[in-house]
């Protein structure tokens, strides 16, 4: 699996009204890129353009993989909602992609991945019987089993409590390593912990933030992480 990078250039509008842009944005291959910005600035639209879910949005420009091949079939999505089917148990949800491709799915591999995200004991529970953190673990397990080179994250940890969020961030950083991850978030602390690259999105475009810190995942309480978080927060305030 060689992960392609992501590139986006141009401007987007919905029903004729400008949404964002013009922007020039790239997420390098095999790296974790955080797209940080306030709500309503069009971060999720960027994600949806890569996912091929633009809906009513028109892009005057180009969004796709750096290798030029189409992205369809190479993308996985994790969102703030866990996107689990409530009528299937955890195992059924993890195997959903395989089922839709008309294969029975590798149950052994699925169990192995559930083991890695710490959900082995809950394989036969419905999502309603799980906590928020456990549901996101199930969503992560499904993303891993799909084994797509590009993973799009739309604020997947923002509904979790601080402790569970930190655990999920570490787990995701470890398990999604070497994939191209585009992580949309409005939380400077999260970007400071996870991004190889951090880009700030504001009304006037997308700009990379220079980083000198150690590679992620960075300790949530390290002085360097906290100062980076502060710097990001300041830029966020100034950008508005």
């Amino acid at each position: 699996m060689t992960a392609p990078g992501l590139v986006l250039s141009g401007s987007a509008r919905v029903d004729g009204a400008p949404l964002f842009g013009p922007v020039d944005f790239a997420a390098p291959a095999g790296r974790w890129t955080c797209l940080l910005g306030p709500s309503g600035v069009g971060k999720s639209t960027v994600l949806r353009l890569f996912a091929g879910l633009a809906g009513p949005v028109t892009l005057d420009g180009h969004a796709g993989a750096s290798d030029g091949a189409p992205l369809a079939g190479r993308v996985a999505l994790m969102a703030q909602q866990d996107l689990l089917l409530p009528w299937l148990d955890v195992l059924g949800n993890v195997l959903l992609g395989a089922r839709l491709r008309g294969r029975r799915g590798d149950r052994a591999a699925a169990r192995d991945i559930l083991e890695r995200v710490g959900l082995s004991a809950h394989a036969h529970k419905r999502p309603a019987a799980l906590s928020g953190g456990q549901r996101q673990r199930a969503a992560l397990a499904r993303t891993l089993l799909e084994d797509r080179p590009v993973v799009l994250l739309d604020e997947p940890f923002s509904a979790l409590d601080a402790r569970t969020r930190a655990q999920m961030q570490d787990l995701s950083a470890a398990l999604l390593a070497r994939r191209t991850v585009l992580h949309v978030t409005h939380d400077p602390a999260e970007a400071a912990r996870l991004g190889h690259h951090i880009c700030l999105m504001a009304g006037d475009g997308i700009r990379p933030v220079p980083l000198s810190a150690e590679p992620p995942p960075r300790a949530f309480d390290a002085a360097a992480t906290l100062s980076l978080q502060g710097a990001l927060h300041r830029r966020l305030m100034q950008a508005a």
């Binding site: 091929g52 999505l77 089917l85 959903l96 419905r126």
Partner: protein, 298 residues
């Protein structure tokens, strides 16, 4: 362990135990009340009925007492049971048709907006047409249907059409609503997975619609019984024999009012049984995942 002797922790544990006990007691009382209250109220109502009839010396051809109705039910059960069985058969055949056609049309409407726009008004027209007004016409129009292996009697065809018209709309409208209310985030997920239209229907929309369908089924179950009884009232007796509605008509002509009440009782009993069966089915299908059926502590 030090925590075992910590008075604050012990007090907190006791408090939780008290809370748990109170909750358990509440649950137990709830469980008993669920059965005892309606039964007690029923007994009270029956006694009051009996008392009114006895004290006012109301003649049995005006209002029979509950004892007389029960006695008639037992004595005439042989006759009534035959009619009961016919009404039950018509009811369930009509409900089956309502489910098949209702769900089938809902899927068709969901797949094609043009079909929905064209045909939904007709569904509404059928729904608001007073069945009692058009039933006599329906019984004039229908003919025997020859299916090769067996023939469906025209009388039965008329009964089924009437009961079906009454029962199918809640299934159609609820299932249509359900198919359209699949979470749009999940639709996006299915798009990313490259799911086909059929797969979206099979794995996302139909399960999403299930709670809505069951809500419609609960209404349609009662309506198909009412439809069957109303149709029998119009049709009278014929090729399929006489259902309970015919027994009610016959008893009222002969002033056998206790028998009329006995037949009414059987109809009500059937309706309640259908309702309970569908409630049970709903619980079995939804209790593990749907918000409406999950039991929560708070």
């Amino acid at each position: 362990m030090s925590t075992m002797t910590d008075p604050a922790v012990t007090a907190a544990t006791d408090l939780r135990d008290d809370e748990e006990l109170r909750r358990a007691r509440g649950r137990r009382i709830n469980g008993i009340a669920r059965w005892v209250l309606p039964i007690a109220l029923l007994a009270l109502t029956l006694f009051w009925w009996h008392w009114v009839v006895t004290v006012n010396q109301i003649p049995h051809y005006v209002l029979p007492g509950p004892m007389l109705v029960a006695q008639t039910l037992v004595e005439d059960f042989a006759t009534l049971a035959g009619s009961w069985w016919i009404t039950i058969q018509v009811t369930f055949m009509a409900l089956f048709l309502a489910v098949t056609v209702g769900v089938g049309l809902a899927i068709l409407f969901n797949q094609s907006r043009l079909v929905e726009m064209s045909f939904f008004p007709y569904a509404v027209v059928l729904q608001v047409t007073p069945i009692i007004a058009i039933a006599p016409l329906i019984f004039i129009y229908v003919v025997d249907i020859n299916l090769g292996l067996f023939t469906i009697d025209a009388q039965l065809v008329g009964l089924l059409i009437c009961a079906w018209i009454v029962a199918f709309f809640p299934i159609l409208s609820n299932t249509t609503l359900g198919l359209n209310s699949a979470d749009h985030n999940l639709r996006d997920l299915f798009s990313i997975y490259g799911a086909t239209r059929w797969q979206k229907l099979r794995y996302l929309q139909l399960p999403s619609a299930l709670p809505y369908f069951l809500g419609g089924l609960r209404i349609a179950g009662g309506l198909s019984l009412i439809g069957a009884v109303v149709a029998e009232f119009v049709a009278g007796t014929g090729g399929v024999g006489s259902g309970l509605a015919f027994r009610i008509l016959e008893s009222s002509y002969r002033l056998q009012i206790p028998r009329m009440f006995a037949a009414l009782f059987l109809i009500v009993l059937t309706g309640v049984a259908i309702y309970l069966a569908i409630t049970w089915l709903t619980h079995v299908l939804l209790h593990k995942w749907h918000e409406s059926a999950i039991k929560r502590e708070t």
